[in-house]
Subunit: 497 residues, 2 copies
Amino acid sequence: MDAAGAWDKLTAEIREVSLLSGAAASLAWDQQTYMPKGSGGLRGKQMSILSRLCHERAVAPQVGEWLDTLGAADLPEQRQVAIRKLRRDYDREVKLPGSLIERQALARTAGFEKWMEAKTAKDFSIFRPALEELLAISKEKAAAIDADRHPLQVLMEKYDPGVSIPALQSTFARLQEGLTALITGVGDAPARELGGHWPLEAQKALHTDVAAALGYDFATGRIDPAEHPFTISLGHGDTRITTHYYEDDLLAGLGGTVHETGHALYEQGLPSDLFGTGLDSAASFGLHESQSRFWENAIGRSLPFFEWLQPRLDARFPGNGKQAVDLYRAANRIQPGFIRVQADEVTYNLHVIVRVELELALFEGRLAVADLPDAWNEKYTKYLGITPPDDAVGVLQDVHWSSGAFAYFQSYTLGNLYAAAFLATLRQDLPDLDDRVRAGEFRPILDWLRDRVHRHGRTLDGPERVRAVVGERDYVEDLLSYLWSRHGALYGLTRPA
Amino acid sequence: MDAAGAWDKLTAEIREVSLLSGAAASLAWDQQTYMPKGSGGLRGKQMSILSRLCHERAVAPQVGEWLDTLGAADLPEQRQVAIRKLRRDYDREVKLPGSLIERQALARTAGFEKWMEAKTAKDFSIFRPALEELLAISKEKAAAIDADRHPLQVLMEKYDPGVSIPALQSTFARLQEGLTALITGVGDAPARELGGHWPLEAQKALHTDVAAALGYDFATGRIDPAEHPFTISLGHGDTRITTHYYEDDLLAGLGGTVHETGHALYEQGLPSDLFGTGLDSAASFGLHESQSRFWENAIGRSLPFFEWLQPRLDARFPGNGKQAVDLYRAANRIQPGFIRVQADEVTYNLHVIVRVELELALFEGRLAVADLPDAWNEKYTKYLGITPPDDAVGVLQDVHWSSGAFAYFQSYTLGNLYAAAFLATLRQDLPDLDDRVRAGEFRPILDWLRDRVHRHGRTLDGPERVRAVVGERDYVEDLLSYLWSRHGALYGLTRPA
C-alpha cells in the first residue's frame, strides 16, 4: 500500500475509534449525572466492552503496518508530526498485554469498593491489600512498556509527555519552599467566610451567565449537577460541564464551574479539522489543567472579575448585600486544611507535592504501602503544619489511587505553573487586562488562548507548547510572584527579598 | 466445534452485541433528552458506527456456522426454541446488503429533513420525492429477504412475527365497522374538558407517585421530559421512561406516563436470566403495545383508578376541586380528530386502520406516492367523518414514514386488541379487579402479567403468546365489548344487537 492509501486507512480507522470512544464518554457522562443508581452493573459491562474494542483496534497489527509505511514516507510537515505522535501512542499501547489490562480493570473495581469501605471506616488497612495489588500492576505496566526507565516516568508520559522527573522534583522543591514562606507569613489570619444562603435555581442561572460570558458554547454544551464536578468531551461538537451547587457556599460552586469552563473552552477550541490525525486532542493533562486554573484563579478569583460579577449576582440574588471586595476576600482566604479539593490556590500545591513525593517513594521502592499513612501524616505536618486526625481526611481522601490512577497528580500543579506563565505573558500582550475583565470583555483573553494554545491540539507536547507561547521563563517565579502579588496585598505582607 | 462450544461462543457473542446495542440505546436516550441542540451531527456518526458494528457482528459468517452446528444438535427444549428464533433473525438480516442499509440510512436523514420542511410548509409535494425513495428502498429490502411473498408481510414480520396480512385485514374490517357504530352513536356529544392549571413540578411528583404505585422500579429507571414520550431499555437493569408535561392538560401527560410505564413494566419483567439467548426480549411490537395500552386505558382510564388517584391528586395539587368522576369523564371523551396521538381510545384505532390500508395500497402498487394525500383525506372523511384542512394535520402528521418506518402501525391496534383479551381473561382470574384498583393494589395485576407475559420473553411470537394466555377468544369482540361497556355507559348508549 502506498503512503496516500495508508494515510486514508489510518485516519479513517482513527476517526471510527474516536467515535466509539466518544460513545464511551457519553456513557461515562450519563453514569455520573442521570443513570439510575441500580444500573451500575450493566453500565460497567457496556463501558468495558467499548474500551476493549477501542484498545483492540488501536493496537491492531494493520495500524502498525500503516504507521510503518507512513514513517518511511515523505510526508508534509504536519503529517510527519501526526505520525510521530501516533507511533509513540502505538508503541506504548501495543506492549500492554490484554491480560494485564483485564487484571487492572478487575483490581480497579475491587480497589474502588475497598477504598469506599476503608474511607467510611476511617481505616487504611482495609484498603491496603487492594492498593498493593494496584501498585504492583502499575509497576508491571511500566515494566512492560520500558523496563529500563523509571517506572513513574514511564507512566507519567501518558498524561504529561515531555515532563522529566528530575526536573519536576527540582521545580516542586523550589515551589514548596516559596509557598511555605507565603503561608507562614499569613499565619493565623482569620478566615473570611462569605456566608449567606444561595437558592439553587438562581445559582444555576448565575453559573450559566458566567460560563456563557467566558465564551462557553451552550449550543454544543450544557451544565449539569454531579457529585464530583468534571468536564467531558463526547467528541468535537459536544463538550459538557458538570458542577456541584452548595446552598450555603456560593463561591465553592462558582469556582468549580469557572474551573470546568476553562477545561471546556480548551476542548471547544481544539482543531476539529484535524479529526482523524490524532493531533486534535489536548496536549497533556498539565496543559489542560493550566486552562482550568487560569480561568478559575487568575481570572475568576481576581478583583476585576468580582467587580464585573457583582451586578450580575445582584440580578440573580436581589438584596444579597455582597460587595465585590467581600467576594474577592472570601474567594482568596489562605488556610491550610486537610482536604485537597477544598484547598485555596496557595496551599493546594502543597497537597499535590505531598502526593507526588509519595508516589515517587512508592515506585522507587523506598516506601511500602503499609507505611503510607504514617508517611502521609508526616508530610502534612511538615508542609502544611497540620496532622490529619484520621485516614479518611488523610491518605484515603482522594479517589485516584483507588482506581490505580498513579502518575498524574503532578498535572494539577503543572497547570498552576503554566497558568502563571500564561498570565504573565498575556499581561504583556494585553496591558489593560484588568479593565477588560472588569468590563466583561473576556473574548480577547479567550482569543489569545485559542490562538496560542487551543487550536494547536497536540502538535507539541505540553511543555513545548507552553515554551512556544511564553518563551524562556521561570514558571516557579511566575507563580510565586502572582500569588504574592494577590495575597501579599490581601494579607498586608511584603515578599522577603 | 461441538454443540456446547458453539452455544458458548454464540451466546457470548450475542451478549456483547446486546451490550453494544444498549450503548447505542443510551446515545438515543440522550439525544432525545439532554443532548445539546447543536451536537446532532456528531451523534449521528456515533450511532451509525454502533449500528453498523452490531449489524456486522450479527450477520458474521461464524454466527451462521454456530447456528448450523446447533441446528443439527440435540438440544434441550428451550435452547431449540432459541436457535429457531436466532436462525430466523440471522437468515433475515444476512440477506440485507450493507449498501442497501447505508442507502436507507442516508434516505432517512434526507427524508426526515424534507418531512420537517414539508410539514412546516403544509405541502406534501416537498416530501414526495424523499418518500418515493424510502418506499423504493423498503420494497428492495423486502425483495432481498423474500421476493416471492407480499412485501409488507415480509417487512411486518420484523415487528409482528406471526401476524398474517389477510387475517389482519379481516380483523381490522370487522373492528372498523364496530367502532363506527359506537362513534356514530356518540355523535356530537359535548366535549368534557378537565380544564385547570397544573404546575409542572407537582405533575412530576404525581407521575412518579403513579409509576411507582404501578410497580415501576425507580432503582433501575427514571422519568425525564422529552418532546415525544418514549420508553427505552439500555439493557437488563436500565429501563427509562420519558414523558411530556402540559401545564393546561393534566390528563394528556398522565396518560402518556401510564402508557410508558406499561412498556417499562414489560421491559423490567423480561427474563434477564436468558441474556445471550435472544429469548430475553419482547415478543413483538404488538405485544409490547398491549402492555402500554392495558395500563393506559383498561386500568389508567377506569373509574376505580381515578377513585384511587383522587386523594393523591389532592395531595399534589391542594384545592384543585376535581372529583374522580370529573377525571373519568374528561379522560374518556370520544371525539374524532385529525391527530392520531391526541385521539381517544376509540377513534385511535381508525387512525391506525387508515395508515395500514394506505401502506397496503402503496406496497401492492395500487397507490402512487403522489396520490397519497388525496387517498388519506378520503379515508379520514369515510372513517372519521372529518376532512383534514391541510397536509400538516393530514398525511404529514406522523414521523414514521419520514424514516422509512413502514409496516408497524398495525402494532398499535394489535396492542389494543390483545389488551382487551387480557383484560377479559384477567377479570375471570381476579374477579375483584375493580376493588383492587380502587385500593391501589396493583401488584396482583402486575404479577399476573409478569407470570403470563413478561417472564417468557420471546419464547413464543406475540400472537402465540396471547393465545397461550387467553385461549381461543375473539379479540375484536373483546375490544368492542370493553369499549361499549365503558363508553356506552358514559354516553348513555346501548349497543345494537
